[in-house]
Subunit: 371 residues, 2 copies
């Protein structure tokens, strides 16, 4: 396999290092705007040098961001090259464009490292779908949020303090919005649901609530009641269709989710024969992410392409009902009071997220069942 | 694929049910001594009816036990049939016989359901080995022990009471020796290490300590010191070779291992690029186990055979040093005293297990590091 590698940052350098040890994977050209030189790959500054190189069969996109990653990947597909990317925003946003195009052009496309980093999650969904019906996917998909919530729970830090510590350690970016508002997790659960269920979710119907409004008092409240708060994604097959959403969730102390430390992920599938299976690992980082990029290249050598058929456009129904912790002006039915906050009577996910959109200062967290 | 299915018990019936929904997998004959009839498979009482049926290309062994499972599988390999089995005792005991024989005869052999039931653990080791060096494997591999230890920890039950409850719920057998003395886990870590490291372990060099001597007082002691006891297997690449052993282990409260409830498993690999990845799921049960038996059949259709090359005969060194909780006559160096028991200064695994063999009434548990 002769590879054109787009980007030489955290992931790109990791991919390059692993491929250097694998004779079947040859990085021929690296697209990089910085002035570097590499012993066994040509460094180019113009994407045409990769698009137009007929000896290159596979393009690995490791640039991040939507633009020009989208244009570069699209052009590579048009040029007949297989694609591997770890860019969840790219695949989630342009799913309806890139996946059918790749099929039409007869090129392979994989993005295993886009969800779960070192965990082979999307490949596992593909494997599960061979034999069973997947009923549910989701879990802890963002290491930044987990790090912040874990520090607040274990060390008693406030939100700002925990965020600052995470930034200092490189677990959160200077502008943490994409992580803490749940956008990264939202991309990942949309992509996971598309592959698990063979659909193409209308992302406008997938609600997301993040963790930026949580306070140390909320966390103390959860601890006192035997819960640990995590940012949890859910994609669930129901009688009426599919419910897909992202929200802070209270997990019972002693449950597997509650025990996920630091910046780890824990992602779960429930299948009709395998029952519950969960995958725990580093959701990000140079080598864990690069590991699954290289695994995708190996799958190409085994003849595998995309994980599933491109599925029909689908709106999430979100009609399932949950009890919620709400701090900030809840005016619906109340089951219990926890200090300044309330526990609601069960309310549908869509109703709660519609209410939250009207009350942007409130903090909500769903209450999860034990295993 | 035309399949000869040996056995129609818990796993066999599950395999039959799943295959009935998959047109590419046809169960042609079922070997069963009971008087049953099936709508779309011939029930036979004589293994020769399967060995000598040239239309059958794959034999699934779902009988359990060593004999006649071994003779039946060996004969099927001799007859040129691919083998799938979930029988860890069979594969661990006859590894040096069956794996080279299958290679010599050019037949495929897989046993994914033998470790972790519904977790695709051995397939994951195969996948990991394509790209990285596996440094460590192991974890909670026996649901019976986990159920007993979990009941003792969470409900404060004594050992006998917890065992009885597990038996009543079908999580432990009437004769629980294989599970509670760690033999089942021992088979699983030997098989996992063989595949992860490409070796054939001399099982006589792999020590095992079980949980049957644990008391409610031990567990109260662990809880008071912030630990949860689990039966943990370890297979670790070291400078001197490989350390492989099974022993009760004290995991810090709040760690992923400590949070594994009921009869679940949590199995971990550490690779030089992926870092830590763990797999959580049902380690047994009809459909989870049958799920991975059927997955192995699908791998045959994709051209895959055994997970690795058959490796050189290897003795475990077990020279790594750990601190242990010991109740019952420890005469070596002591770091701390916990009630009637002591915490030893670090001592090598091989020295501790040699000591335990001389003191069969004692209970030991290694102290694990946090993640």
């Amino acid at each position: 396999m002769r590879i054109g590698l787009l980007g030489f940052g955290v992931v790109g350098k990791g991919v390059y290092d692993i491929c250097a040890k694998m004779p079947e994977l040859q990085v021929a050209k690296v697209l990089c705007l910085e002035d570097i030189s590499l012993p066994d790959a040509e460094v180019v500054g113009d994407i045409h040098a990769i698009w137009e190189d007929e000896t290159i069969d596979t393009v690995i996109e490791a640039m991040g961001g939507l633009h020009p990653a989208y244009e570069f990947v699209r052009g590579a597909i048009e040029a007949g090259k297989n694609i591997v990317t770890s860019n969840k925003a790219l695949v989630a946003n342009f799913y309806d464009d890139l996946i059918p195009l790749a099929k039409a052009k007869g090129v392979k496309f994989r993005c295993t490292a886009a969800v779960g980093g070192g965990i082979g999650w999307l490949s596992e969904l593909e494997r599960a779908n061979r034999v069973q019906i997947i009923e549910q996917v989701g879990g802890i998909m963002n290491g930044t949020c987990n790090y912040i919530l874990d520090s607040m729970t274990r060390l008693g830090l406030g939100y700002d303090e925990a965020l600052k510590q995470a930034q200092g350690l490189g677990y959160a970016e200077a502008n943490p919005t994409t992580d803490v508002e749940g956008i990264d997790t939202w991309h990942k659960v949309i992509l996971s649901s598309n592959i698990a269920f063979g659909i193409s979710l209308d992302s406008a119907t997938v609600p997301v609530a993040g963790i930026s409004k949580i306070t140390g008092e909320d966390v103390a409240n959860f601890t006192a009641h035997g819960y640990v708060c995590k940012l949890i994604s859910t994609g669930k097959r129901t009688e009426k269709g599919f419910s897909v959403f992202v929200q802070p969730t209270l997990c019972p102390q002693g449950s597997p989710e509650a025990a996920v430390p630091m910046n780890y992920n824990l992602i779960t599938l429930i299948g009709d024969t395998s029952a519950r299976m969960s995958f725990f690992g580093q959701g990000a980082g140079r080598y864990p992410t690069a590991y699954n990029v290289v695994q995708d290249c190996m799958e190409f050598l085994n003849g595998k392409g995309f994980y599933c058929e491109y599925g029909p456009k689908t709106a999430a129904t979100n009609d399932i009902c949950l009890s919620y912790y709400v701090r900030g002006g809840w005016d619906g039915e109340v089951a219990e009071t926890w200090g300044d906050a309330v526990i609601t009577k069960p309310v549908s996910v869509s109703v709660m997220h519609a209410w939250l959109a009207e009350h942007p200062g409130a903090f909500i967290a769903a209450i999860a069942d034990a295993i």
